[in-house]
């Protein structure tokens, strides 16, 4: 009876990439650790076996930092096992808020004047102008409903998918992730309803009509996609 129960707590599956451990998420963590220890020690790995990567599926269980290191410790004790990743369906509210902040659209209604910097986490929706010498920075996309005459830096934390769009585009510079493009030296005024994004090779910023974004970035508005990709 008891043996049957213990068997249900942890299920091991072998895949091409290594082992996946499915953990029961209703029992106590101590029991889980103990059983994991028993299972792993009952199996002997031969010296000449290659290293095996292990993926741990926690289900709806949340581990704090200490518990996670305990879990890793138990698995690591087996010389042949390497923890690849630990996956859980649940996150803390604070983490969720951070995630939300990073993907939320921030609305600002102001003029970013020369010398001013507007820095937001997530997407920036600016209702107003960015004047020459002003700068807007966002970890996500930048949308300017107004004249973009200063500098816009989208995806400042390295998001190469980020785009910059403006009602009137006459910027000093556009920056996306770590790529920079500047306005041509022969001044020729700006363009209406344009956007900038990185080309497929992620090498340079290209400009196009805003309507072309539906092709270039079809999942621009997919919040869930961003959650799962981190």
């Amino acid at each position: 009876m008891s043996a049957n129960q213990t068997n249900q707590r942890i299920t091991i599956k072998g895949t091409r990439d290594g082992l996946t451990l499915f953990m029961d998420d209703t029992c106590s963590f101590e029991n889980l650790l103990k059983e994991l220890h028993d299972i792993l020690t009952s199996h002997h790995f031969a010296e000449d076996e290659p290293m095996i990567t292990v993926k741990v599926e926690l289900g709806n269980r949340y581990l704090n930092g200490e518990q996670e290191s305990q879990l890793r410790e138990v698995i690591r004790k087996q010389n042949k096992l390497v923890v690849d990743q630990i996956v859980s369906n649940v996150i803390l509210k604070t983490e969720a808020l951070e995630w939300k902040e990073d993907t939320e659209i921030r609305l600002h209604n102001k003029i970013v004047r020369s010398g001013q910097v507007l820095h937001v986490n997530g997407d920036l929706l600016l209702v107003g102008d960015v004047n020459p010498g002003g700068k807007v920075i966002a970890s996500g996309n930048i949308f300017v409903m107004g004249n973009l005459r200063g500098i816009a830096h989208a995806g400042v934390d390295g998001n190469e998918e980020a785009v910059i769009a403006a009602s009137y585009m006459a910027p000093n510079q556009l920056r996306i992730a770590d790529k920079i493009s500047r306005s041509p030296d022969n001044e020729q005024g700006g363009v209406h309803m344009e956007c900038g994004f990185l080309d497929e090779q992620r090498e340079q910023i290209i400009m196009d009509r805003i309507s072309s974004l539906t092709k270039a970035r079809p999942d621009l508005n997919a919040f869930e996609r961003r959650i799962f990709n981190g």
Partner: protein, 265 residues
Amino acid sequence: MGEAIVITSGKGGVGKTTTTANLGTALALLDKKVCLIDTDIGLRNLDVIMGLENRIIYDIVDVLEERCKVSQALIKDKRFDCLYLLPAAQTSDKSSLTPEGMIEVINQLKPDYDYILIDCPAGIEQGYKNAVVGADKALVVTTPEKSSVRDADRIIGLLEQEDIEPPHLIINRIRNHMMKNGDMLDVDEIVQVLSIDLLGIVADDDDVIKASNHGEPVAFQPNTRASIAYRNIARRILGESVPLLSLEEKPGFMDKIKKVFGLAK
């Protein structure tokens, strides 16, 4: 209770001091009691343009270091009984000029005057902060040049952080023929970029320099283009609605004849 208005621009040489002197004169012409304060310590000019240089005994630093009273440092204008100047110091150490001191001086002056015009030094350092701290309103002066508009933009951004009414704009030194040819930023373009209310435009006029060199602000003259522009701005400060002056040169005698014969545009 008077109103303190700071005249600022960020960039140097766009006409802050000239504007201060002329608006002071124009307001005095309209029977307002006006006090001008020069806060450009070490590079004072306002007294020269007003032609009051030789009358200076005490200056604003003397007031702040309590070597004299405010009333002793004030200089009455040559032409008006209701126009006074509090000059800047030319030699003293400017460290004694503090924001607290400025507020103190302005509060002492406010009950006695209708308008207190503060001439701000160029730049955005301590001198600017001292000039702005005691003001209720701000006028931003710019010329139709990119660099000057850029600095005006910066200053407007800084003024927005102060506890002060939204600033108004004066565009100075407009050369009509250059604006027409597109060699100069035009008024609409400047107002669009800066997006603050336009208080007035002043044409680039030789008379302004001539008058300044004679120590007599141009606003005192009856009918030059610049003097009318300054007096219009003064009336707008008083709340009148005055249409913007046309920048067109008045057609001369020959132009009229040409027009008769259909030769002119």
